[in-house]
């Protein structure tokens, strides 16, 4: 057993935590693993190659309840936990955040300062594919952009995997399910597919941590991750750096724009 598995066994045996959310090796893929029994701890591995952002489970009451749990976290999870905490969605006293360094040593991040520091030191390099696609679309004229998005989003089957995968999309009732009024057609239609993405991006503004889980979850591989990415970058430019949290729930009397007559 490696250090992570030993630590996990101790935590579960001693009853310090009821559940450990981590990763295991699935068929050809790393997948999330929910470890409740000490004897299962040997299945735990540490990898940042899992397409799921496991922080998504932290807001699931049916899974967590009032129990103390531990999460084995990579950069993705930690960035989301910081944001979830800003939005008062985390009970810190019930959550243990563990990371594993390259020597296999397990560290507990006990405070949000430590988590912020971890994120600063471990920020992954920006994805060149995403950056190139954003640049390509930015260079198109408006008609070309419309044609591009119309044809891409026309394929969307509105499975809402992009919503389910996002740790910050945790509302109990989503506009997509409101039927009085029926904001979005419940079936697949180009119009509602576009409207859905606009809603998703608007609701994520200033909150998205750029983990990319939404895009990886999309069964059709639609380039939806670049919408939130582009929005995050532009918000910093338009509203200023240091505007953490939900930029739309606050304002600055000096916000600058050049389009209001």
């Amino acid at each position: 057993m490696n250090k992570l598995q030993e630590r996990a066994t101790d935590l579960l045996k001693g009853g310090t935590v009821k559940l450990i959310i981590g990763f295991e090796q699935g068929n050809n893929k790393i997948r999330p693993f929910f470890c409740e029994k000490p004897e299962d701890a040997e299945k735990l591995i540490y990898s940042d190659d899992c397409s799921t952002n496991n922080a998504v489970y932290l807001t699931k009451k049916e899974l967590i309840g009032d129990n103390k749990i531990a999460i084995i976290a990579t950069y993705k999870e930690i960035a989301s936990i910081i944001q979830l905490n800003k939005e008062n969605q985390i009970k810190k006293e019930n959550l243990m955040v563990l990371t594993v360094d390259k020597d296999g040593d397990v560290t507990e991040l006990t405070s949000f300062e430590e988590m912020e520091k971890f994120c600063e030191e471990n920020t992954p390099a920006p994805d060149p594919v995403v950056a190139a696609l954003i640049e390509k679309i930015d260079k198109m004229n408006r008609e070309e952009r419309w044609a591009y998005w119309k044809s891409e989003l026309d394929k969307c089957i509105r499975c809402y995997a992009c919503r389910a995968a996002c740790p910050l999309c945790y509302c109990n009732r989503c506009i997509s399910e409101v039927n009085c009024p029926q904001w979005l057609d419940p079936w697949k239609s180009t119009l509602s597919n576009i409207e859905w993405q606009i809603n998703r991006v608007m609701h994520m503004s200033g909150r998205c941590t750029g983990c990319g889980a939404c895009a990886k979850a999309c069964p059709l591989d639609l380039p939806i991750g670049i919408l939130t990415k582009k929005m995050s970058t532009d918000i910093k430019e338009m509203l200023g750096e240091g505007e953490g949290g939900n930029v739309l729930s606050t304002f600055n009397p000096n916000d600058k724009e050049n389009f209001i007559h």
Partner: protein, 154 residues
């Protein structure tokens, strides 16, 4: 069939707040200022209440242009509704533009209860601009996706 631009009458939906722009538009009327009749006004308690989905629904429902207008900064009846709205429009406009939706068709303005003449100008300018741009066929086509598909199978 496409409407030709010469005799095309744009359909404009205006989303305005109760306290400033609606009162301003009222003043335009009571001052007997003549202005374009293409605009249909929807009154809201505050610009902060104007959900971005309503704008999308206006386009989907056949609007060729949209006006969004409320109290000048620092004049909001509820102190900060317009500041919140301004932020929302900054972000929203940016996203629409990236998706290739024609943001020229949405005019944002501040019109106070005393600016009856400004309201007339805003409407007239918008109508003129939309008349030049023509009907928003692109969006209407997407909104009638099923009909369009039925047509293409004929």
């Amino acid at each position: 069939m496409e409407e030709s631009n010469n005799n095309f009458e744009p359909r404009i939906i205006a989303f305005v707040c109760n306290w400033c722009t609606y009162a301003g538009a009222d003043l335009t009327g009571t001052s007997r200022i003549k202005y374009a009749t293409n605009v249909e006004i929807v009154r809201f308690p505050c610009t902060g209440r104007i959900d971005f989905m309503l704008l999308l629904k206006a386009f989907a429902g056949g609007a060729d242009g949209i006006i969004v207008s409320g109290c000048h900064p620092n004049d909001c009846h509820y102190t900060s509704g317009n500041f919140h709205a301004r932020r929302r429009w900054i972000v929203f406009r940016n996203i629409l533009n990236f998706l290739g939706i024609d943001v020229q068709r949405i005019r944002f303005s501040w019109v106070s209860a005393a600016e009856g003449a400004k309201w007339a100008d805003i409407v007239n300018d918008t109508v003129k601009e939309i008349r030049e741009l023509g009907p928003y066929t692109e969006y209407k086509k997407v909104a009638n996706y099923l009909d369009e598909e039925a047509d293409s199978h004929e």
